[in-house]
């Protein structure tokens, strides 16, 4: 097995890095699009109960719909390819982002906001100087969860023709060549763990900065 | 002859470098109602918790009913000392009857005896068993919860009852009612020793046969209320009692 894995890297490392590139492209693009939608929505949700209720219901619903279903359902409608994969991944990343953004802003103590207002801040300044810094650890936690979800679901994107590391697992399962399966699975797992460590580190950093300011 | 049921000899308690209690010596006789008065940080609650072993002294010897605490099984000890805390102490997931039956159940009493005890205890504190047994703590008022707390502590007929600021969350009028009730309870159960911690000087003077005034981990004075008023031992005690006089002066002024 080990020999086969080494041989794969000797002969096909270009192919391998191609899959990694596709996987990263899919994951990061969908994460960025999802953040652009989720942050304003989450901020609105923290100020407006109707928006918040809508977001909560939407998230609850999405949690019980299998990600597999979301990925597959678009194919008969849009065909295979990168675009339907991106759409599905964005939809999957929204719940953790929105929910945690709302949570983050809601956790900001109303007393602090009142103090901010009484010191003469307008809504923009309040957001920038008080609410956002205090909500940031929660928001970043949402980003972490979304990233893990996206990387995980992007593994399945191979089924709808968007490539990525899942292709190796898929091919390996089809041809019953375990070396492909192992390479693909381990790479995805590492990618996921790395991104989690990275986000954990960023969150810790933000928390420390907060504390050193007090 | 009266006998000492609680005895502290050179007891000290440290948390790290912080000395909470330093060299505490006192004796309490069976049947006494002792109140302990002090501000927060005076060591009064720590003293109480050392009696039922929730806190262990770093130095010194504590004797309960003639037994050295170091040689006593603490779980058994707790089951034979009543313990009343603020109303939060009732378990919210248990009915009133279940709350009162906790310790009897731990002691494996039979069902009939437990049911009878629950009824007796509720009657003892003036709550109708038929009405209250099946309710949950959240359905009772603060004063009622406190009565159940006392009933629960009495369930195993313990010789010693510990009270840790039980009434501090109640409002003034209800508080006066339950104080009166506890005083009567002790008169009915005159062989039981009550050890009652409070930061309210009026409560301490009203309830206690003797009042232990604590400050910074030491006893300032341990005497009957009459003695305290007549002969305050230290400036601290004098100042503390001075506040009662001030209240009276205020009363006279507006009368």
């Amino acid at each position: 097995m080990l020999a086969q894995i080494i041989r794969y890297f000797q002969t096909s490392s270009a192919e391998y890095w191609g899959y990694v590139g596709q996987h990263l492209f899919l994951s990061l693009t969908s994460l960025i699009i999802a953040m652009l939608i989720a942050f304003p929505l989450g901020y609105l949700g923290s100020r407006n109960n109707a928006v918040a209720a809508f977001c909560q219901t939407f998230s609850q619903l999405l949690r019980i719909i299998p990600s597999l279903a979301l990925l597959f359902i678009l194919i008969p409608i849009m065909g295979a390819g990168v675009i339907p994969a991106l759409i599905a991944l964005v939809v999957l990343a929204l719940p953790p982002l929105v929910v945690n953004t709302i949570l983050g802003f809601n956790e900001v103590s109303p007393v602090l906001k009142e103090v901010g207002l009484s010191l003469g801040m307008d809504q923009r300044q309040l957001l920038k100087q008080i609410s956002l810094p205090l909500a940031l650890p929660y928001i970043l936690n949402g980003v972490k969860l979304a990233l893990v979800e996206i990387i995980s679901s992007a593994t399945l994107a191979t089924y709808i023709g968007a490539g990525g590391l899942g292709t190796l697992i898929f091919t390996g399962l089809g041809l019953y060549k375990m070396q492909y399966v192992v390479i693909g699975a381990v790479s995805v797992a590492l990618l996921s763990l790395l991104s989690m460590f990275l986000m954990d580190w960023v969150i810790r950093k933000v928390r420390e900065d907060d504390q050193s300011n007090y | 002859m009266t006998k000492a049921i609680i005895k502290f000899e050179h007891v000290a308690k440290k948390y790290g470098k912080n000395e909470i209690i330093s060299d505490l010596n006192f004796e309490i006789n069976q049947g006494e109602f002792v109140t302990v008065l002090g501000s927060s940080g005076s060591g009064k609650t720590t003293t109480l918790k050392m009696i039922n072993g929730l806190e262990k002294p770093t130095k010194g010897k504590i004797t309960i009913n003639g037994n050295d605490l170091n040689d006593t099984n603490l779980v058994d000890l707790c089951r034979h000392i009543g313990y009343v805390v603020q109303s939060i102490g009732l378990f919210p997931h248990m009915t009133i009857a279940q709350n009162i039956a906790v310790t009897p159940n731990l002691l494996n009493w039979d069902k009939e005896k437990i049911n009878k005890t629950v009824d007796d205890m509720l009657n003892q504190v003036g709550l109708d068993p038929k009405e209250y047994s099946g309710r949950y703590p959240a359905q009772l008022s603060g004063g009622q919860q406190q009565r159940v707390g006392v009933a629960r502590a009495l369930s195993t007929n313990p010789p010693i009852m510990l009270f840790d600021e039980p009434f501090s969350a109640l409002d003034a009028i209800i508080r006066q009612d339950v104080q009166q009730e506890v005083k009567e309870l002790h008169q009915n159960l005159s062989d039981k020793t009550f050890f009652f911690v409070t930061h309210d000087i009026n409560e301490a003077l009203f309830l206690g046969d003797r009042v232990m005034i604590m400050n910074k981990g030491k006893i300032e004075q341990f005497d009957t209320p009459e003695k305290l008023v007549a002969q305050p031992a230290t400036d601290y005690v004098a100042q503390l009692l001075g506040t009662v006089r001030q209240n009276r002066a205020l009363w006279e002024q507006f009368k």
Binding site: P66, V186 | C78, V85
Partner: protein
């Protein structure tokens, strides 16, 4: 849609049952393990935290990869699927249970000690019942997420409702995919409702009214 149901209802029911069996067995195993782990490690805080961190790492492993990685060890099929699902559950359950138990007001624990309960009695009579709401919400989250993940188990021939989705993918038809989705969601909702009913029976009324 309806025609598909008429033609395939027996098979669809079969797949639903497979799906439910897979998820529920995994949940049951994970729950038992969680209770045991908590009972053993509750008062070793560092151990518990590392344990939770360990499971959180496993949890972040993409399910497709997790399924695939176990094939060389446990082969294709239901057993592998159940193992993977149980690991995912373990993290959710441990985290929610521990949070629930740690959030029990320390006053209750002190009072319980003051009344003469031993550590085990405090755990079974005070901490566990008081954290029941957290336990049930943990079970519900675990159930919902593994119901969805279990569809992917179809890729390692473990059956379940994922089969319908892959059938639709391969034949390019929406109907089987939709049916697979609807049945998964419906099964999840039914299980959640049953869980709620159990919760109402188990949880003390005293906790609901406060």
């Amino acid at each position: 849609m309806i025609k598909y149901w008429q033609d395939n209802s027996a098979r669809m029911m079969q797949l639903t049952i497979e799906h439910a069996r897979m998820v529920l067995i995994a949940l049951f195993i994970a729950f038992l393990v969680a209770i045991v782990l908590i009972a053993v490690f509750l008062r070793k805080k560092n151990w518990m935290n590392s344990l939770i961190y360990f499971f959180s790492l496993l949890y972040s492993v993409p399910s497709y990869a997790f399924f695939a990685l176990l094939i060389p060890i446990t082969g294709l099929g239901e057993t592998t699927a159940i193992i993977v699902l149980a690991f995912y559950n373990e993290y959710v359950l441990l985290r929610t249970l521990i949070t629930g138990i740690r959030e029990v007001d320390p006053n209750y624990i002190e009072v319980a000690r003051g009344m003469g309960m031993t550590q085990e009695e405090i755990f079974t009579k005070v901490q566990l019942p008081l954290s029941m709401p957290a336990i049930f919400s943990g079970l519900q989250v675990a159930l919902a997420s593994t119901m969805a993940i279990a569809t992917i188990a179809s890729t390692i021939s473990a059956g379940g409702l994922g089969d319908l989705m892959f059938e639709g993918l391969q034949t390019g038809r929406v109907v089987p995919i939709l049916w697979g989705t609807i049945l998964t969601v419906a099964l999840t909702l039914v299980c959640i409702v049953i869980l709620k009913l159990i919760e109402n029976l188990v949880i003390s009324d005293g906790l609901e009214k406060s």
